[in-house]
Amino acid sequence: MKRVKLATVWLDGCSGCHMSVLDMDAAIITLARKIDIVYGPLVDAQEFPDDVDVTLVEGAVSSQEDATKIQKVRQRTKTLIAMGDCAVTSNVPAMRNGVPVSQLLHTIYATSNGSKDVPGERLPQLLSHARPLHEFVKIDMHLPGCPPSSKLIVGVLSDLLDGKKPELAGKVKFG
């Protein structure tokens, strides 16, 4: 049987969703027989491959870099899954949305950090708002939760491998 190519992507999130993926314990043995992890923070690949079957994306789109990346990921992925509340709703990263970016950076780097100025060109260029993935690209499935449980992620991946559509009503919640 052809192995399914799985990628994971980490945008503006705390890595908690990736921890949830890692937390699947023994289930990884069963899954590993059927999938190859081809890209993501858990593996070494530098470039997002051309023909990924399933991609799990953690995090909101907060910078120009995130926005460019998610477009590329979409083009190269068959089933794109928004994993966790930051990807689904923009969640905690969006708590800065009420503050203009220049003021935000100034507060973080100059006021509260005691440094004189903001390290301009070394920072990724922030968008005016952190926004959910579906405002940038078409998302095939949303897995809310902060983080979504390991069990849920394993369940969804297993269903997809079996060619089934995961049933999420009553099983997921925001937060």
């Binding site: 928004a82 509340d85 689904v88 709703t89 923009s90 969640n91 905690v92 969006a94 708590m95 949305n97 009420g98 708002h129 926004r131 959910p132 579906h134 405002e135 998302i139 499935m141 949303h142 897995l143 809310p144 902060c146 999420l168 009503a169 009553g170 099983k171 997921v172 919640k173 925001f174 937060g175």
Partner: protein, 236 residues
């Protein structure tokens, strides 16, 4: 003694008393209609529109919590159309304010969050509004966080109808509407507030909470409000 009326709910014949609402008739016969602004014991206001149902012969949807039953009425509580509208209504509540469940005192105990989960809402299709809203921490025991308020007015009604203090009101209109205490004073400066906390218990979300609780810790007991209201014979 009110007259007994007969009606059909989802095809099943039930009887209820004249003057009762569709929601009351449904609940008394064990039928479920989703609600948010309704709280048993307080006067229904028909604000959230989640309880919308179809009535044969009427070409618009009606809120079950405020619509009185009529003899021979035939009501449908579920349909693809109702589900579609109910989901839209909930999603609009999520975009209107800042609902960041992961860091909310009511996470895991919130009626809005639970309703979204139950209805299978996995994401919100509309653009978030990200309004800049204040948090009133001036009261010694409670907090009001406008970021989480859905303007259900349960706080307004419980304070006026059960406590008799009428501290809460809704000020401004549309997207600018806010609950306010007394004449738009800080809650801590309200002379009407008796510190009873009924508004906190009645609030379906994390908008009103007791101080001192962290994320997920605020558990409310609005069943007590219902019991108290029925004891006093208030509401319906």
């Amino acid at each position: 003694m009110p007259k007994k009326l007969q009606l059909r709910i989802d095809g099943e014949m039930v009887s209820a008393l004249e003057g009762q609402t569709i929601l009351q008739a449904a609940r008394n016969s064990g039928k479920y209609i989703p609600t948010l602004c309704y709280l048993d014991g307080l006067t229904p206001v028909g604000g959230c529109r989640l309880c919308m149902v179809e009535v044969s012969g009427i070409d618009r949807l009606v809120p079950a919590c405020t619509t009185p039953i009529q003899d021979g009425m035939s009501v449908s509580t579920t349909s693809a159309k109702l589900t579609r509208y109910r989901k839209i209504m909930l999603e609009l509540l999520f975009i209107e304010r800042n609902h960041i469940c992961a860091v909310c005192v009511s996470n895991g105990h919130c009626e809005l969050q639970a309703m979204a989960s139950q209805m299978g809402i996995t994401n919100v299709r509309f653009s978030y509004n990200y309004p800049k809203l204040s948090v009133d921490q001036s009261h010694s025991r409670y907090v009001l966080d406008h970021n989480r308020c859905i303007l259900c007015t349960r706080c307004v009604r419980v304070c006026a109808e059960l406590e008799g203090a009428h501290v809460w009101e809704v000020t401004s209109r549309g997207i600018h509407a806010r609950v306010q205490s007394d004449l738009n004073q800080k809650w801590g400066e309200s002379r009407g507030c008796t510190n009873c906390g009924k508004c906190v218990q009645a609030c379906p979300t994390g908008a009103l909470a007791e101080k001192g609780w962290a994320v997920e810790e605020m558990i409310k007991r609005n069943d007590n409000i219902t019991v108290l209201a029925h004891r006093k014979g208030a509401g319906a």
